[in-house]
């Protein structure tokens, strides 16, 4: 069966879609590839020249690493299995009093800079000074979570059948409509399609298995992908799929080698 895609919702930093015709193994492989294989830039090494702040060098270095850095898709081959060795230097020099923000970092590469200028790095009191060079590299989420491009989760698509014998079934209908879930009303039941999580209110729990039944739509998953800003969401998914494809290709060719020996 040819997999089918349907985009449910597209925002600036997230996308929600239904994939039909894949199994759990593939859905999970896609999720894990997004989290641990899609490369992004993150600060990997920091050289401190001066730090009079109340936070230790290591804490500031850790905070710097967690700042999402814009990763130019067209300049680096992000779907390759080998990473480009490119170092971007972000430097900062500041004196208190005041808060040092991610927007104060000066990058030597216009394309690689903090996506969000409002992240506080440290607070400086009067006369406290901070100056350092931070070096950002491409990396993958499997080595450190700072290189994860975002967040992704999926759920089974299910249909909840609510018989009209259940008292207050109208309440469930209203609740589902309020959550913007598609509701289909039939002669003797309503069918709620759970395109996002739908939890039954406790008073309805006793009808589960009786008047209320949950049907899992086979081989269909609702994916949500969020980005921290490093990469556009669609890119995250397509890069992940390409990496998965490359890895499978490599696996097959290795198998052929073993078989021919």
């Amino acid at each position: 069966m040819e997999p089918k895609f349907q985009i449910l919702e597209k925002k600036e930093d997230s996308i929600k879609f239904i994939v039909e015709g894949i199994d759990v193994t593939f859905a999970n492989a896609l999720r894990r590839t997004i989290l641990s294989e899609v490369p992004t830039f993150a600060v990997d090494e920091v050289e401190f020249f001066e730090n009079d702040s109340a936070l230790f060098d290591e804490i500031i270095a850790h905070r710097l690493a967690l700042i999402p850095l814009k990763t130019p898709v067209d300049r680096f081959s992000l779907d390759a299995l080998e990473l480009d060795d490119h170092v971007v230097t972000l430097s900062l020099e500041a004196e208190g009093p005041g808060i040092v923000y991610s927007g104060d970092l000066k990058s030597d590469d216009e394309d690689v800079k903090p996506t969000n200028p409002n992240i506080p790095i440290v607070k400086l009191a009067e006369k406290q000074r901070l100056s350092f060079n931070a070096y950002a590299r491409l990396g993958r989420g499997k080595d450190h979570a700072k290189w994860q491009p975002g967040f992704v989760y999926y759920k089974y698509l299910t249909k909840i059948h609510v018989s009209k014998d259940v008292p207050d079934w109208k309440e469930l209908k209203e609740l589902a409509e309020k959550r913007k879930l598609p509701v289909e009303e039939k002669e003797d039941e309503i069918v709620i399609t759970t395109t996002s999580a739908f939890y039954l209110p406790r008073k309805f729990e006793k009808y589960v298995g009786g008047g209320i039944e949950e049907e899992v739509v086979p081989n269909t998953f609702v994916f949500t992908v969020e980005t921290n800003g490093e990469l556009p969401v669609e890119e995250i998914v397509s890069i992940a799929l390409k990496i998965l494809m490359r890895k499978s290709d490599r696996f097959i060719s290795e198998l052929h080698k073993v078989a021919s020996d």
Binding site: S53, L66, I119, P120, Q128, F151, E226
Partner: protein, 65 residues
């Protein structure tokens, strides 16, 4: 000490929202509503902002060395 840059659990960037959150809550707004407004949806992120105590202001007045 200082606001965590990201949610401990899911990794969403939160630090940029904290000072606005604090300001609005101190002005008397309902914390839950402010979190909704800021787009902080999951409960892992909500507890991270809600339970944070900014101790740095007290600590930073002393010399470290």
């Amino acid at each position: 000490m200082i606001v965590p840059v990201r949610c401990f659990t899911c990794g969403k960037v939160l630090a940029d929202k904290y000072y606005e959150f604090k300001k609005r809550v101190e002005a008397g707004e309902d914390p839950g509503k402010v979190l909704d407004d800021l787009g902080v949806e999951r409960y892992c992120c909500r507890r991270t902002l809600l339970s944070h105590v900014e101790l740095l202001d007290q600590v930073m007045v002393y010399r470290v060395y």
